[in-house]
Amino acid sequence: MSELAQLMRQYDVLGGFWMTIKLTVVSALGSLILGVIVVIMRISPVKAFQLFGKGYVNVIRNTPLTVIVTFCALAFYNVLAWRLAGPDARSSVQLFWWGVVALSVYHSTFVAEGIRSGINTVPPGQAEAARSIGLTFGQTLSQVILPQAVRGSVTPLGNTLIALTKNTTVVSAIGVAEASYVMKNMIEFSPNFIYAIFILMALGFVILTLPVGMLVSWASTKLAVQR
């Protein structure tokens, strides 16, 4: 235990996890917004939107996250020099935002698929009844379909959030100092503490993800729709 305390003093472990949390929260919001847009395209009556949504999901979901992250950093930031955080921000801030973009784009496909599987649990008669009383496509979605789809989406969305939390470690590849980046430093400079370092990291991520899992199982019972 004294080893853990010493490591905490020597390295910015809390700072690393704070960065992990920031990446997770911001990317979760980003992927939720993107994912909702994509899923609306996929179920919209417009053929071109459906095809675009389907293509987006299939291409992005099947590309390794590392590739997307490095592509964003190299192509968009290094080569094209698009400065997301404004022209004056430091490189570490720019890379943080490119990391967020990559994580959001990648996980939005899982969000879209998660919501779609929730939508598939809603019987088609619900949408037909909604349309037959004159609700528009948007009203049918927001008043009838999505409220009932939430229940079926909670579990896949929770799993995506847990995966996202752990996948933030990938952006250490472009130098964002999140938890696993700090861990690599620790292992390099204090290799004799390897077990302690490992326990520290595992514990940190479990503390972050465990509540999500608990929230998900609570929510899916709470939101049950009787049929």
Binding site: P45, Q126, E128, R131, I133, G134, Q139, Q226, R227
Partner: protein
């Protein structure tokens, strides 16, 4: 409209007005299957048309094309002088004028009975909530489920759910009501309570197109019977003529099977 009085089962009297619905040369395929073939049908305001026919003859599809839950390949469907729009807001507006009651009720499972009935008036007709709630409660009273207003659909019997579904459609003040086998999913003891509501609607002058196997309803409430077979309208006549003196062999065959 007249209040619903179950005992009142005297002869049906109501006025039939000008044309409100016209289907002209309507064609539809499901892949290879020619499910609607040259359908021509004119329905007058206040008319009650019962659609009969063997399973798979296209009765549900016909019903569903009228509010465009199914698209058609060619032909025209005109409601109150307006041709059915193909998509978007105009279609939604027209659908509000055409109520539909489904075999499987399709009440919104996450909303209470009262909310089910209020949703359309509030969201589509933009009526104030208080006013919409008042009329919703009156409608629920009329179909005999006022005391269930705060329950969820799954807590009601099938017959009650179907009566709520009728109230939900009526809340939109539709010009036409479509019924697709509204009593087929019900336990026998609940069929009558739903038919009673439908008879009272017919009596009140509602224009109705009803797909049903309930011959009693057809005899009591229909102005006209349309008999379909293999995607075609084979016979159109008044109920008495149809039941006692059908002209086509297919109708005779069908009646022989269901009337024993």
């Amino acid at each position: 409209m007249a209040a619903f009085i179950p005992e009142d089962t005297g002869p049906l009297v109501h006025d039939i007005g000008e044309t409100i619905l016209e289907l002209s040369h309507v064609e539809k395929h499901f892949g290879e299957l020619h499910v609607l073939q040259d359908i021509n049908l004119t329905v007058a305001r206040g008319e009650v048309v019962v659609v009969l026919g063997p399973s798979g003859s296209g009765k549900s599809t016909l019903c569903r094309t009228i509010n465009r839950l199914e698209t058609i390949d060619s032909g025209t469907i005109t409601i109150d002088g307006t041709e059915l729009p193909s998509e978007g807001k105009a279609l939604a507006r027209l659908r509000a004028e055409v109520g539909m009651v489904f075999q499987s009720f399709n009440l919104f499972a996450h909303k209470t009975i009262l909310e089910n009935v209020m949703l359309g008036p509030v969201k589509v007709r933009k009526r104030p909530r208080a006013e919409a709630e008042k009329s919703a409660r009156e409608l629920l009273e009329r179909v005999g489920v006022a005391n269930q207003a705060s329950k969820y659909p799954a807590q009601l019997s099938g017959g009650q759910q179907q009566r709520v579904a009728i109230a939900r459609s009526l809340a939109m003040d539709p010009q036409i009501m479509l019924f697709d086998e509204p009593t087929s999913a019900l336990d026998p003891e609940m069929v009558q309570e739903v038919l009673d509501v439908m008879v009272s609607l017919a009596r009140g002058g509602m224009t109705m197109i009803v797909v049903t196997h309930e011959m009693g309803f057809a005899r009591k409430a229909a102005n006209r019977v349309v008999f379909m077979s293999d995607g075609m309208i084979v016979e159109k006549s008044d109920p008495e003529t149809f039941f006692t003196n059908p002209t086509s062999d297919r109708a005779k065959d069908f009646l022989g099977k269901i009337l024993h």
